[in-house]
Each structure stands twice: as structure tokens, then as C-alpha cells.
């Protein structure tokens, strides 16, 4: 399995993702320029990552321009063919704008950018400490979509407190139902607002991100 990390002109977590994958997780990584289209070196066993940042400045809705980039046309095709795609933060916003994942990411309810450690839990109730850093990370969708996500076990991570309780106080942005990350029904496209790549190195004093990456990429089947 190898990884492709898309570099938009305003990506700023692209190198972080590359470092985390190569140095902390020992993976092979190719960097992909937004103006290129060629993904022929990737098979559906591989994974394309849309990293965090401000793809094209994001003065419009976050990710609204990125979805039209040449590389994104190929990524959409790759995803529809069953290839794995992970969007982190701005990448998650781009996936929602592209229609690859349902719902939208709105301005944080408290109107501020928020960068801090938060706690997440997965469907097995395991709790992880992972940083968030975003101004528009409030997950929003219709009740129907939200119910569908729950029924199909598409909600990967919820914001919770240190002991795993899903509370309003533990929600850093006002996301509906405390949603931090979801996947599509086919379970090959993942979107997360938190940054696991920022928690993969012992130098940083937090390696919970490795567990998240492992779960997303290498677990037999994604936890549902």
C-alpha cells in the first residue's frame, strides 16, 4: 500500500502528513500537484490523502474551489472506483464539497478558530487525544442524513471528554451529534476534522494519532 498526498497551493499540512506517514508509520508517499491529473501509479489498494490547509485561500466556502481542481477530478474517479481517500480538516471540507461525503462543515458555533487537543471515541468506545485546528468544522446535515449515518455505522469518531462521555462541553465546534469524522457507505472514503498526523511522534508527546491511522488504513475492516 502506498499513499498519495495532494498538494493544493494553500495546503499547509501536506508536509506534516508526508512526515507522519513516512517517518512515523514507515509508509511510501508520493506528493501530487493540484494541477496534475495522473493517478495511474495508484491502485485501489492505495490511499490518496487530502491534507489540511487553505487549499485555494478558502476566502469562499472552504473547499468550494478545490473540488474543481484537475487533481480532484481524478481523485473523485479514483474514489468511485473503490480507492481509499482520506480527507483531514480542509480535506474533509473538500470531500463534502465534492459530494463524496454527505453533509457540510460550517463555521464553528462560537465563531472562532479553535486549535487544541480534544478527545475522540470510536465505535468500540476507545478514547483518543487528537488535536483540532479549524474555523469551519461544525458538521451539519439533515436529520435524515444523520440518521442514515448512524444506521449504516458511518460515524467513525465522536467528540467526547477524557472519559469517553459525549457531551456538549466536549464538542469544540458545535458539530451535530458531536460528529468528528465519517465515512461513505462503501467505507472507502473517510473525512475527519481532527489531525491524527499531529499526534504520531513521541517527540510531540502524543502518539494516539498512530492508532487512528492504523485503524483507517490497516485494520482488517474498518470498525463499524
Amino acid at each position: 500500500m502506498k499513499f498519495g498526498v495532494v498538494v493544493f497551493p494553500g495546503s499547509n499540512c501536506d508536509r506534516d502528513m508526508q512526515d507522519a506517514l513516512e517517518q512515523d508509520l514507515g509508509q511510501k508517499v508520493l506528493m501530487l500537484w493540484h494541477k496534475d491529473k495522473d493517478l495511474s501509479m495508484f491502485s485501489t489498494d492505495d490511499c490518496i490523502v487530502l491534507p489540511g490547509g487553505f487549499s485555494y485561500g478558502d476566502y469562499l466556502r472552504c473547499g468550494a474551489i478545490a473540488r474543481f481542481s484537475p487533481m480532484m477530478q481524478s481523485v473523485i474517479e479514483f474514489a468511485q472506483n473503490g480507492g481509499k481517500v482520506l480527507g483531514i480538516c480542509n480535506g474533509f471540507q473538500i470531500l463534502c464539497e465534492s459530494g463524496l461525503l454527505p453533509g457540510a462543515l460550517l463555521r464553528n458555533s462560537h465563531q472562532q478558530f479553535a486549535c487544541k487537543n480534544v478527545f475522540l471515541k470510536d465505535a468500540r468506545n476507545e478514547v483518543y487525544k487528537i488535536p483540532v485546528a479549524h474555523g469551519e468544522g461544525r458538521y451539519f446535515a439533515t436529520e435524515d442524513i444523520l440518521n442514515g449515518l448512524e444506521e449504516n455505522h458511518q460515524i467513525l469518531y465522536l467528540y467526547c471528554d477524557e472519559s469517553g462521555h459525549v457531551t456538549e462541553a466536549a464538542n469544540p465546534n458545535g458539530s451535530m451529534r458531536n460528529i468528528a469524522g465519517i465515512c461513505n457507505t462503501e467505507r472507502n472514503i473517510y473525512g475527519l476534522m481532527p489531525h491524527p498526523e499531529r499526534a504520531c511522534s513521541s517527540i510531540l508527546g502524543n502518539v494516539d494519532g498512530r492508532k487512528i491511522m492504523h485503524q483507517l488504513f490497516f485494520a482488517e475492516s474498518l470498525v463499524s
Partner: protein, 743 residues
């Protein structure tokens, strides 16, 4: 248009300066030329009222790779073929008028100073001063400045890793916004801000030029008055996305070796970059201003010369390599045009559609060349009298010290700044090791090495106000102490000298004495001043701000495994204060903010004692005899103990000293003291190792109780809650208002 002395005065030049210009040119300048002199001889660009004293600072030595002032920022060797590039700069005046853009472009400008030298910025810091947080105006300014810093830094993708914020009424009209950037460069990839080689093309890269920020440099060289809001066009507008692209494109172009020299366009735009690069290389330039990419039609020559539009660079490129450069900027979708060429006559020729608009010897415009340098008068401020008259015996020790402590921990200058720093991306770049293990200075991993850069900004301006000489010394010492408490070795300093109007002899007294104290301390710590910025005129009709010589200091940690953190680690560990505990209330937050004593002496300070303390502490840290180290500063010992406890939710049980009044013991701000925790089994060895450095065994770490002289002061979490929420309680209202506006 006839050019007279009145024209010169309108452009903020003096009558004498106008005469000097005529003599230098041997003719009367035209309007465009006069504009060029106005910008370049402004305080902001020429340092005309400060350079004489700045030259007395230690400006070389240590690990410095370029002399101070020779390049856009300081450059020091950190081994492994790497250098650290760093600088701090003010954006006070724009932020006073338009806090969001003022602060945002301050961040953008300082990062450009770093990457114009070939370095990739890896950390940003800031130092902020506002009026009282209770005031609506302060809440508006704070909210705008924080949003501005976050907006620019978060998008640009460099973590904001540290800073300081103080609130005092002296900053009500004149807030201070100082931004610092730290970058890393490989040996051999540095770029100089110079022009060389006859016929080499001069290229303009980056955003198109508009009419924003025209006259910014001279605007920043005047007091703030009721009319200042009318200067809004002097405030620039920032675009962090453009700057992000500019960064990547510049670093890519440097690798091609096509670049002879490069300088960012900040204050005074094209005129400043062409003049400084030409003067440095001893050459001239012919520039066709009509080739400059413009975003507005019909811009005049003087507007193009003076515009401070952001995200622009001037490059001198090797002849024949123009296409190499163009290709890279095309890739990043950034404008890139040849606008002129290098000449050998030392003259700046500015043409517009073939007409010569200005002809000025480059050397005459710049600092160290023709720009004026003044001696200013100074005399002791009259308020010194009331400082000398302070008598601590007039202050009774309050009966209920716990109630006092509850107020102190919630003072805006002391309380948790999370409302501010949570709005900054502090983790992008995955190198900030302080997120999960906080220490007194931020520790940034130098990728590919076991090393860390240790960075901090510090200045307690009340101490400087009370005693400019000792106060500035204390600012340098505190910065060094913060680095040592984090396990680092101080390397060098960048300073941001924020003062009032230099034509006021009392202000100039503060300036001169602060420089003397700063210089002496920098010599002691072997931390040369690598560069920085002077911001005068932080003054309004009610008076000047406190003298605020902010110190940005960079240190080196050879091995990240030797870093030290500030939080207590385990229950039962023994708590010491390393350094002497004096009975000293001078200039403390306690005296000033709780008891409303506006004038008292700066705390007593001895530079030699401070230096010995730091030497001892660093050796103890390297011997691994210390589990935590935290500098005592504002709020005194009590606040330092609380902060060490808050990290892991631990408390402390301590005894005060009989021979020192209890309020001074808990809240006095005598410098040169560090709160340390030591494993109970290591105390004998610790005490032996301390040698001739005085120490006091205060007590022990508890599981959460705070106990002072046997009396319970409650649980650490109650104190943490007061500390954490004090600032946001003031600001929720401001944010709600802003939210309503966006609906």
C-alpha cells in the same frame, strides 16, 4: 507643481531635512523624489533618532553569521549545517486604527523578512499590549488583533508557539502589536538583500501593487491623534494565501541559484527595496514603474514607489536566468515581471512610460548613507520623584491573603490566555513539542536533528517605566531565564523597542537608559542583538505608553531529551525556590493592580546573581536533578506555584518565611528566582549541588490541596478554573456581538 518647504512639511519632513535634500541633489527635488525621501527618512525606515544608541548594543559575536542590521533578519549558526533566522517587528500604529488588518499584515511582514533570506519560517511569536480589559475599546482591539494574527498565521501555515499579553491603561489608545518569526535555513541557501552585476534584471514578484498602505512608514512615525482614523489608507491589507504561495515559490527559486539578491517589500515598498539593495551592493538601478503589475489603473509614479501592498518581493536575477524564475512563479500562479536592471552609477532612475520621474543616488536615501542621524536631548522623568517616595511600610499586610490571591490569579495580565492562543494554530508543522509538555519557553524540534530551538518574548514594561536601565536588563534576563528553565542555552536577541515620542526628553531618557541596560545584559549572557525594530511615537495627547523594549530571544537545545518542563510531576516531590527570596513589593501586580499603587521602584536586581543562577540551573537540569522548573514573574511565587500545579492538576503544601512579610513572600516579584521540584530521594544531592546559589525548601507537591502555612486554601482545580476563565468572562460579550454582525 512647485515644491516648497511646506510640501516637505506636509510629507512629514522638517525644514532642515528639506534643505539637506536640496544640497544633496544640488537642486530642488520634484514631488516624486520628495516622496521617496519622506518615506526613506521617516523614523520607521531611517532610525534617525535611535541609530546612535542602537550602535552601542553588542551586535556581533557568539554564533552570529551576519552582522546586525546588514540583512533583513538575524542569522545564527545552530550546527549540522543549519542556521536560525529570526526577527521581531512592530505593527502598532496600523493595529490601533484597524486591528484585524494591522495585526494580520504585521504577521505577514515579519514572515517575509525571514523567507527573503532563504529560511522556512517554523515558529511565530508575539507580544501584545492593550488597555484595561474592562473597556469596550480594549475588547474590540484585542478581538480584532487576535483574529488578525490567527487569520494570517493559520492560513500561512506557521504555528504561533508563544507570546505575551499585558493589559494596562497606558496602552488604551496605543496598543502594541509585536510579531516575531523564526525560521531555519540550510547553509549555502541563504540569500542576501543586495544588488550586483551590471545589466542583471530586477524582477518584481508577488501580488500586484495597489494604493493600499501608501505613506505607511511615515504614518507610523507620528503620534496617534483623534484624526488618525482618517489615515486608514495608510493601513495595508493582507492576503495570507498569496504569501503562502510566495513563500513556496521563493524557496523553490533560491534552490536554482538564479538569484543574486532578494528583499521583501514592506515599509516604503519599491523605493525602500530598490534603495537598500542598490546601496548595499554599491550599484544603481533603472526601473520602469509602468511594468510593475498594478491592481489599480493610472497609478502615479509616487504611488507605485510608496505603496505598501503586501506579499511582494524584489529580486535581482542573473542575466539569462529570467525564464527559470518565471517558470516557478507561473507554477504558483504569481505575477513575475522584469521591471528594470542593475546599473553601475549608484543612481536610482525611475521611469514611467519612458519619462524620467525621479533620479536619486541610492546611498543618500538609506540608513548608514545619507539618511539623517540625530542626537536627542534627554532628562530624568519627573515621575521618578514619586517612585523614590514610595514607602513599603505604608502598606499594611492584608488580613485575608487568600482573598487577595483569588483576585491576583484572575487579573487579565496573569490569567490563562487560552481565549487568545486557542485561536492560533500552534501545532501545524508538527514540531512544537510544548503543546503536550509546556515549558517557560516554546521548544521547537529542528527536523532531521535531535535539537530544539527554544524561543520566547518577554518584557515587563512596568519595571522599565520604574527603572529603564534595570527594567530592560530584567527583560533580557527573564527571556534568558525562560530559555534556561526549558533546558536551552540562550543564543541571541531580537528587540522591538516600543517608546513614545523621541522629541520628548523624558521619553528619550527612558530609551537611552533602556538601551544601556539591555546592552549590558546581552553582553553578560553572550546573546548579541541580531536585529529588530524601533517603534517611536506610541503616544497620544494623554501621554506615552510605558517604555516597552520587548525582547525576542532564541536559544538552542542540543538534545530534546534534555528539555525541561514547568509542571509538577508527582505528589510528594519536594518544592524549592532556587535564588534568593527578598522582601520586595516593588512594581508588582499586587501593588499596582490590587492596591492601586501606581508608582513604586522596580524590583531589586543584580545581573551577576542572575547569571550565576542560570548557569547553576542549566547544569542541574543537564545532570537530571530537577523534575520541573518555572520562572517566577508576574504575581510572584504564589502564581508560579499554581502554574506548576495546573499542568497535571497537582497542589502544593508550603511554608512562608518568618523574616519576610507574607504578602511580599507570596506576591512580590523579585526576579532571579525559579520554582523547582525535585524527587524526595534526591534532595540531599540537589542541596549539595546548588553550591553558592541560595535556595529555600518551600514544601511538597500534593495531590490537589493548596496549603499555605498549614492553612487550606482549597483545591487546585478551583484555582485553575478562576485562572482559566477570567479573560473569557470579559470577552464572551464581544464575540456574541461579532457573531450577530455576521448573521
Amino acid at each position: 507643481m512647485e515644491i516648497t518647504v511646506d510640501t516637505a512639511k506636509q510629507l512629514r519632513l522638517t525644514a532642515d531635512e528639506f534643505e539637506v535634500i536640496k544640497k544633496k541633489l544640488k537642486r530642488t527635488p520634484n514631488f516624486t523624489e520628495l516622496c521617496a525621501f519622506s518615506a526613506m527618512w521617516s523614523e520607521h525606515c531611517s532610525y534617525k533618532n535611535s541609530i546612535k544608541w542602537l550602535k552601542t548594543l553588542p551586535r556581533e559575536g557568539g554564533r552570529m553569521l551576519v552582522k546586525a542590521g546588514e540583512e533583513n533578519a538575524g542569522l545564527m549558526d545552530i550546527g549540522d549545517g543549519l542556521g536560525v533566522v529570526f526577527k521581531i517587528e512592530s505593527h502598532n500604529h496600523p493595529s490601533a486604527i484597524e486591528p484585524f488588518q494591522g495585526a494580520a499584515t504585521g504577521v505577514g511582514g515579519i514572515h517575509r523578512d525571514i523567507f527573503t533570506m532563504g529560511a522556512r519560517p517554523v515558529a511565530a511569536l508575539n507580544s501584545l499590549r492593550f488597555g484595561r480589559l474592562e473597556e469596550d475599546k480594549t475588547q474590540h482591539l484585542l478581538s480584532g488583533v487576535v483574529h488578525g494574527i490567527g487569520h494570517y498565521g493559520n492560513c500561512f501555515g506557521v504555528p504561533t508557539v508563544g507570546g505575551e499579553v499585558y493589559f494596562d491603561e497606558c496602552y488604551h489608545t496605543n496598543p502594541l502589536v509585536n510579531a516575531m518569526s523564526v525560521g531555519i535555513v540550510k547553509a549555502g541557501e541563504t540569500v542576501s538583500a543586495t544588488a550586483e552585476g551590471e545589466g542583471n534584471p530586477v524582477m518584481f514578484v508577488g501580488s500586484a501593487t495597489g494604493k493600499d498602505g501608501i505613506g505607511g512608514a511615515s504614518f507610523a512615525s507620528a503620534d496617534i491623534t483623534a484624526e488618525s482614523a482618517e489615515e486608514l489608507p495608510a493601513v495595508q491589507v493582507g492576503d495570507p494565501f498569496q504569501e503562502k504561495k510566495l513563500l513556496e515559490a521563493c524557496l523553490e527559486v533560491i534552490k536554482t541559484k538564479a538569484i543574486v539578491g532578494m528583499q521583501d517589500m514592506g515599509a516604503a515598498g519599491i523605493i525602500c527595496s530598490t534603495a537598500e539593495m542598490s546601496a548595499k551592493g554599491g550599484v544603481g538601478m533603472r526601473i520602469d514603474l509602468d511594468k510593475v503589475p498594478a491592481r489599480q489603473q493610472d497609478m502615479k509614479a509616487w504611488e507605485l514607489l510608496l505603496s505598501e501592498s503586501q506579499e511582494r518581493m524584489l529580486m535581482v536575477v542573473q542575466k539569462g536566468k529570467e525564464d527559470v524564475v518565471k517558470q516557478i512563479f507561473d507554477k504558483w500562479d504569481l505575477p513575475c515581471e522584469v521591471i528594470g536592471k542593475v546599473t553601475t552609477d549608484g543612481l536610482l532612475h525611475f521611469y514611467m512610460h519612458g519619462n524620467l520621474e525621479a533620479l536619486i543616488p541610492a546611498e543618500e536615501l538609506v540608513l548608514g548613507g545619507g539618511a539623517p542621524q540625530y542626537d536627542r536631548e534627554y532628562n530624568e522623568p519627573t515621575y521618578f520623584e514619586s517612585i523614590r517616595n514610595f514607602n513599603p511600610a505604608s502598606i499594611k499586610v492584608p488580613a485575608n491573603l487568600k482573598a487577595v490571591a483569588e483576585k491576583i490569579i484572575a487579573l487579565p495580565s496573569i490569567a490563562n490566555k487560552r481565549w487568545i492562543y486557542n485561536q492560533y494554530d500552534s501545532m501545524v508543522g508538527i514540531a512544537n513539542t510544548s503543546t503536550n509538555n509546556p515549558s517557560d519557553a516554546a521548544v521547537i524540534h529542528v527536523k532531521g536533528t535531535p535539537k530544539g530551538l527554544v524561543v520566547t518574548t518577554d518584557c515587563n514594561s512596568r519595571y522599565v517605566y520604574s527603572d529603564p536601565y534595570k527594567g530592560a536588563m530584567m527583560a533580557v534576563s527573564e527571556a534568558a531565564r525562560n530559555i534556561v528553565c526549558s533546558g536551552g542555552e540562550p543564543l541571541g536577541v531580537t528587540n522591538c523597542l516600543n517608546f513614545g515620542n523621541p522629541y520628548d526628553p523624558e521619553v528619550y531618557f527612558q530609551f537611552v537608559n533602556a538601551i544601556k541596560g539591555m546592552g549590558e545584559a546581552c553582553v553578560k549572557f553572550n546573546t548579541p542583538v541580531t536585529g529588530g525594530n524601533v517603534s517611536f511615537y506610541n503616544q497620544n495627547p494623554d501621554g506615552p505608553v510605558y517604555p516597552t523594549p520587548t525582547i525576542g530571544m532564541v536559544g538552542l537545545l542540543e538534545d530534546l531529551n534534555q528539555r525541561m518542563t514547568l509542571g509538577f510531576k508527582n505528589e510528594e516531590d519536594v518544592i524549592y525556590v532556587l535564588g534568593e527570596i527578598n522582601e520586595d513589593l516593588g512594581s508588582s501586580e499586587y501593588l499596582y493592580s490590587i492596591l492601586h499603587v501606581k508608582h513604586s521602584p522596580a524590583p531589586r536586581f543584580n545581573l551577576d546573581a542572575e547569571f550565576s543562577l542560570q548557569q547553576k540551573l542549566i547544569s542541574m537540569i543537564r545532570d537530571r536533578k530537577v523534575l520541573s522548573a518555572h520562572d517566577t514573574s508576574e504575581g510572584g511565587l504564589f502564581v508560579a506555584l499554581c502554574e506548576s500545579g495546573f499542568v497535571e492538576g497537582l497542589g502544593f503544601d508550603i511554608k512562608t518565611a518568618d523574616h519576610i512579610r507574607k504578602d511580599a513572600f507570596l506576591f512580590g516579584e523579585a526576579p532571579s528566582r525559579v520554582v523547582i521540584s525535585v524527587e524526595a530521594g534526591n534532595t540531599v544531592e540537589f542541596e549539595k549541588l546548588s553550591g553558592n546559589i541560595p535556595f529555600t525548601r518551600l514544601g511538597v507537591v500534593t495531590s490537589g490541596d493548596i496549603i499555605i502555612d498549614g492553612e487550606s486554601w482549597g483545591d487546585v482545580n478551583e484555582w485553575k478554573d478562576r485562572y482559566d476563565t477570567a479573560i473569557e468572562r470579559f470577552l464572551d460579550k464581544e464575540e456574541a456581538g461579532a457573531a450577530l454582525q455576521t448573521i
